[in-house]
């Protein structure tokens, strides 16, 4: 028994070491000191209250999108269109911010709602393409990402062009009411954090405690048998994509209202793909998303320090995160193999889970 427990502990810790080992090899290969690099990332993320606030702020869109993606993963769908849904959310919110000159409370409310609407719209288009056009959601989503990107650039460079000429730095700053209030001098908005946490709680209960969540899970486990058992798959798919899109759109609205205070072409900034990894590592459990997002955000906020202090490109953070995911998967696979071997040694038939599950969570 002790041996097994030791294995289990190793299997949790091993991915972290594997990923660190891999990045260390790369750092040594380019002749940089790994120790300094990791210290710089840590210091860059946690050395002052301002930095910690930045990490929390960076967490918010990741949590929102990650939680949203838990919904579509649960339904067995690959919603890689989150990037585009963030952009659409930001576009809709920007439209509200530019056109409605009301006091802060109604403007912000409307911006967030409009953002959710925009994201949901883009999500539903991917779902419609999937259901009625038989386009795999991965291609629909990726295609829509590029379309959304083109749309954003066109809007920024034509109708929403600032008076002194359009640049990649985006539109004019929003009028004051459209800025999300921040906590003192810190760059974090309490409202955004509350919304993100609220989203975690709501999605957790939606997936765990409602019929809708149960039906989504049934679809994710086995689409065909869920359909045969009477789960209305079309409305469920549409609502799942709409819910995920709404959360992603909310993230987009928050990014342009709380972080930039304007619409910029790179408003999504790869958050969609990152949150895909977050949701993967969380195995579609919303309650784990904030912790993983926190780690990802910390690496993201800490890495630019590499560029300042060590002249290393901050994309090292991306390498660290991706190799972490790969290592986690490898170790999970290893654990499964070990379990099977153990089961086989004990004379049981190995489980059929792997072959049958179309379950996106793997």
């Amino acid at each position: 028994m002790t041996r097994i427990r030791l294995n289990d502990v190793l299997l949790v810790v091993a991915p972290i070491f594997l990923a660190l080992f891999f990045t260390t090899v790369i750092l040594l290969a380019v002749g940089a000191s790994p120790w300094d690099a990791y210290r710089n990332i840590l210091a860059g993320a946690f050395e002052s209250p301002e930095k910690i606030a930045d990490v929390v702020a960076a967490c918010v869109p990741l949590v929102l999108c990650g939680v949203g993606m838990c919904i579509t993963f649960t339904a067995g769908q690959w919603n890689v269109g989150v990037e585009g849904q963030i952009i659409l959310g930001a576009l809709f919110a920007t439209w509200v911010a530019r056109n409605l000159l009301w006091p802060q409370a109604p403007v912000l409310t409307l911006m967030l709602l409009a953002g959710m609407l925009g994201g949901a719209l883009w999500g539903v288009i991917a779902a419609l393409l999937k259901i009625y056009g038989n386009v795999h959601e991965i291609f629909g989503g990726l295609g829509l990402n590029y379309v959304a990107q083109g749309l954003a650039i066109w809007l920024i460079f034509n109708p929403w062009r600032p008076a002194d000429g359009a640049t990649m730095s985006g539109t004019d700053p929003f009028p004051d009411p459209a800025w999300m209030p921040r906590l003192a001098h810190l760059r974090v908005s309490p409202l955004a954090v509350i919304l993100a946490l609220l989203a975690v709680v709501v999605v957790y209960f939606l997936l765990r405690g409602t019929r809708w969540g149960l039906e989504l899970r049934a679809m994710g486990k086995n689409f065909r048998s869920a359909y045969l058992l009477g789960v209305p798959s079309t409305p469920r798919l549409l609502t799942a994509f709409a819910a995920c899109g709404a959360l992603a759109g909310l993230a987009g609205a928050i990014r342009c209202s709380a972080r930039y205070g304007r619409m910029i072409p790179d408003i999504a900034g790869g958050q969609g793909y990152l949150s895909l990894l977050v949701a993967l590592l969380a195995v579609s459990r919303p309650q784990w998303v904030p912790f993983i997002a926190f780690f990802f955000a910390a690496v993201g906020v800490g890495s630019p320090r590499l560029e300042l202090n060590m002249h290393l490109d901050s994309s090292l953070g991306g390498v660290l995160r991706a190799s972490m995911v790969l290592a986690v998967m490898m170790v999970a696979g290893l654990r499964m193999l070990l379990n099977q071997r153990r089961a086989r040694a004990a004379g049981e038939t190995p489980s059929q889970d792997v072959v049958e599950s179309g379950d996106a969570a793997g």
Binding site: Y132, I138, W154, M329, L337, A360
Partner: protein, 491 residues
């Protein structure tokens, strides 16, 4: 998909169509422009250094071509409708004959008025253009409805309409000017090469039931190593250019094979979800190449300058007008694509290995029962797939751009996967689909040069829209290998 849903889909198309038809009629009634006498010149000679025999230019009167286009559309619509007679009786025939003719005329007039209005710089031009496009969608829906059972004629009708539409659009875009058609087609082929190689890589992997979504990352990493190895050989060791090219190619193939092997280990051995594995490899590739290129390539510029391959003319064949410059005056990597494509096709469909691969892709348990080593087959195929993707990366560097830039693949791997689906998991089909995407890409650049009044951002979206429409257009036709994406577990 159940029948009711399909009907709903077509009902949507027709509802939208009716609405746009009303818009079109209003436009036709209000617009009082006439088409001026204009003509479009297509240059068919490739350029001064081309060896092809010179031919005269192709001059087309714009207005005339438009009318012909409208007639053809109407004819195709009517022809499709007439085919209904055999199956569905008179009522439906009458409706769809009318609909077909109306759709054809509608598409033509919409596009015609778009042309006229755009020349006058009117605001409504966009709306009219949309009307023309809607007419096309309408026709496509009609063709789909009619040929739901006969798939081959559906593809033919769709392809005919699409080619005509693109050609008509080009005639309009180049009105009163001349544009080089041979050059356009040649650059279309060049742009389709990486997409075709990505698609071939996908075919190799998916025929043995491993979904390879990591092609993008494989191409990017291979491109980086092609640039690095090629430059080291050319600029540090001062090898002759052909040796440097081989060295770069070797680097690309090595990187592709290693990533393919990584995917195989994850997908076959560890039975990780293949899409997760692929996504993680993609993100890793982006991070790794950005990091290494900012660390190495941007500091030492001569490490990012492997040189571009020269064009090689094939004797005799390259002297054929139009076709010669397009297919037989390209660089070695393009010829390698043709070779890889032919070899893949022959291997997959005429050798024992291919039969085994397809068996593993359709029913691994049956294959295993017959003594085929499923794991080994998948390892070999996915690694080969990685190498083909690596060839795509090498082409980007050595055959096209000549230097590595971060994120330079720009979605080509994904478009390649779409081409694979569109080509129904067949090597030649995938190449054909890749040609369409390559043409969309080349056309977009050409339209930008011709200064068409459409914002460039919309032109940049075009390949992705084409991808989605193309994928949606193959309803029920694209059937993947039965075991696609499922890890195999020995019993």
């Amino acid at each position: 998909m159940d029948k009711r849903r399909k009907k709903f889909f077509y009902a949507l198309i027709y509802a939208g169509a009716a609405l746009l038809l009303a818009l079109c009629l209003t436009l036709c009634a209000t617009a009082t422009y006439t088409q001026p006498e204009q003509s479009t010149t297509f240059v068919l000679n490739a350029g001064s250094e081309s060896q092809a025999l010179p031919v005269g230019d192709l001059v087309l009167p714009s207005a005339m071509t438009w009318y012909v286009y409208g007639l053809v559309c109407a004819f195709v619509g009517g022809w499709q409708a007439a085919r209904l007679l055999q199956r569905n009786g008179w009522a439906l025939l009458a409706v769809s004959a009318l609909a077909g003719i109306a759709g054809g005329v509608w598409a033509a007039t919409g596009a015609l008025y778009a042309a006229v209005l755009l020349m006058g710089g009117e605001v409504w031009a966009g709306a009219a253009l949309l009307t023309g496009l809607a007419g096309l969608v309408f026709l496509a829906g009609l063709a789909g409805l009619v040929c739901a059972r006969r798939r081959i004629s559906l593809s033919i009708a769709l392809t005919a309409i699409a080619i005509l539409a693109v050609f008509a659009f080009l005639i309009w875009a180049a009105r009163d000017r001349s544009t080089n058609l041979t050059g356009l087609l040649s650059s279309a082929l060049l742009r389709s090469v990486p997409i075709a190689l990505a698609a071939l890589s996908g075919v190799l992997c998916e025929r043995c039931a491993v979904i390879n979504i990591a092609i993008e990352g494989m191409m990017l990493t291979s491109a980086f190593f092609a640039a690095l190895f090629g430059s080291v050989a050319a600029n540090i060791w001062h090898w002759p250019s052909w040796a440097a090219f081989i060295c770069g190619l070797f680097g690309a193939l090595l990187a592709g094979a290693l990533l393919g092997l990584l995917l195989a280990v994850l997908a076959v051995h560890f039975k990780v979800d293949q899409i997760i594995a692929g996504t993680a490899i993609n993100i890793l590739a982006v991070g790794l190449t950005s990091f290494l290129s900012s660390r190495i390539l941007s500091e030492f510029q001569n490490l990012n300058n492997p040189g571009i391959l020269n064009r090689v003319s094939i004797p005799l064949l390259s002297r054929i007008p139009v076709i010669g410059p397009i297919f037989f005056e390209q660089n070695v990597l393009v010829y390698m694509l043709f070779a890889v494509m032919a070899i893949t096709h022959i291997m997959l469909f005429y050798t024992r290995w291919g039969l085994r691969t397809r068996a593993v892709g359709e029913h691994p348990r049956a294959a295993d029962t017959l003594g085929i080593d499923v794991f080994k087959n998948r390892y070999v195929n996915v690694t080969l797939g990685g190498m083909v993707a690596g060839l795509g990366g090498a082409f980007l560097i050595l055959g096209s751009v000549g230097r590595f830039d971060e994120m330079m693949t720009a979605g080509k791997g994904f478009i390649g996967l779409a081409a694979m689906i569109f080509g129904k998991w067949m090597p030649f089909g995938a190449f054909g689909a890749a040609l369409i995407f390559g043409f969309a890409d080349a056309l977009q650049t050409r339209l930008a040069i011709l200064q068409v009044a459409i914002p460039s951002q919309f032109l940049l979206m075009a390949p992705y829209l084409v991808t989605m429409i193309a994928l949606a257009g193959v309803i029920g036709e694209a059937i993947p290998p039965a075991a696609d994406g499922q890890p195999y577990e020995k019993q």
